[in-house]
């Protein structure tokens, strides 16, 4: 279980991680193999998985209805393994723009999309997104017109949220794979929208 060529001083926290892991292995609570496997499984969780869901919803209206009714079941329908995830998918429309935050910590649909980015966990995002979402979105380069309602979802409990962005114009004859290619992680958090080209 060696670190890959990090020429950095071994910190107190790394000492704690090694020590905790060795103790847990000695006690039979975890195994080294398990830790490696789970780390790899989490690494395999990437935003592409969410993009696949979005693309399917864009091409298949019946799937989209099912997705909005029960995000978990709809992901499982596509063969995506999402243990214990209670997923709520919220739809962007010409009248409504959704954005997700967890002010209390950093709740995020990680078993679907992977580990959240640093900025999602930052003090600034967590404190300002509920209070001045339009300013925060502008910092991300997204200007939402005053005629569009912004719905900010603070994930405080057991549900995890994902935004279903609007399908951009100019993609009418695209296939699912091509559509999935323009669905970014940021568009599923609600700080961006998918762009053509």
């Amino acid at each position: 279980m060696k670190d890959q060529g990090n020429y950095q001083p071994y910190t107190y926290y790394q000492l704690m991680e090694t020590s905790l892991r060795e103790l847990l292995v000695e006690k039979g609570v975890v195994t080294d193999a398990q830790v490696s496997e789970v780390a790899a499984a989490m690494r395999a969780r990437q935003p592409e998985r969410g993009a696949k869901v979005v693309a399917r919803a864009w091409v298949d209206p019946a799937y989209k209805s099912r997705l909005l009714a029960n995000g978990t079941a709809a992901c499982e329908e596509l063969g995506l393994e999402i243990p214990s995830l209670k997923l709520v998918v919220v739809e962007n429309t010409p009248q409504v723009h959704n954005a997700i935050v967890c002010t209390l910590c950093s709740c995020y649909p990680r078993v679907l999309l992977g580990i959240p980015p640093d900025w999602y966990k930052s003090f600034s995002y967590r404190s300002r997104m509920v209070r001045e979402p339009r300013s925060v979105l502008q910092e991300f380069g997204l200007d939402i017109p005053q005629s569009v309602q912004i719905r900010v979802h603070d994930s405080t409990a057991d549900m995890r949220y994902m935004v279903l962005p609007m399908r951009p114009r100019g993609t009418e004859d695209w296939d699912e794979a091509r559509l999935a290619g323009i669905v970014t992680r940021d568009s599923m958090v609600g700080v961006a929208v998918p762009k053509v080209g």
Binding site: M1, D3, Q4, N6, Y10, T11, Y13, Q14, L15, M16, E17, T18, S19, L20, R21, E22, L23, L24, K27, V29, V30, Q34, V35, S36, V38, A39, A41, M42, R43, P83, S84, T103, L104, C105, S106, V111, I115, P117, D118, W119, K121, S122, F123, S124, Y125, R126, S127, R128, V130, R131, V136, E139, F140, D154
Partner: protein
């Protein structure tokens, strides 16, 4: 300072959101993996709850909460939770940390 817990930051004044990201180091991924295993997410055997983990992150002193990186907070909180649960003891941890530190010299 007690009425509103430091971590409960929704609506507090703050500066610009810096869109930083970083590729996680191996030790950070291992912290994440250990937590996920202990929560029983993939194995179904839950040894600790996400709620205890959050409680222990929230219990970090405000300066530590602000200055530690995400996984530095996680390893600290995870260790506290395991001590509270009696899965490890402070003494065992101290002895192991001394042993590992000697090895790393």
């Amino acid at each position: 300072m007690i009425e509103r817990s430091h971590h409960d930051m929704g609506g507090q004044p703050a500066g610009k959101v810096e869109p930083t990201e970083h590729d996680y180091a191996d030790w950070e991924r291992r912290v994440d993996a250990m937590a996920v295993i202990l929560f029983g997410v993939f194995t179904g055997k839950r040894r600790i709850t996400v709620d205890e983990h959050r409680k222990n992150i929230e219990a970090l002193p405000p300066e530590a909460y602000d200055k530690l990186t995400y996984y530095e907070k996680w390893i600290s909180a995870l260790t506290q939770t395991l001590i509270q649960r009696g899965i490890i003891t402070t003494e065992e941890l101290g002895r192991k940390m001394e042993e590992v530190a000697r090895r790393k010299k």
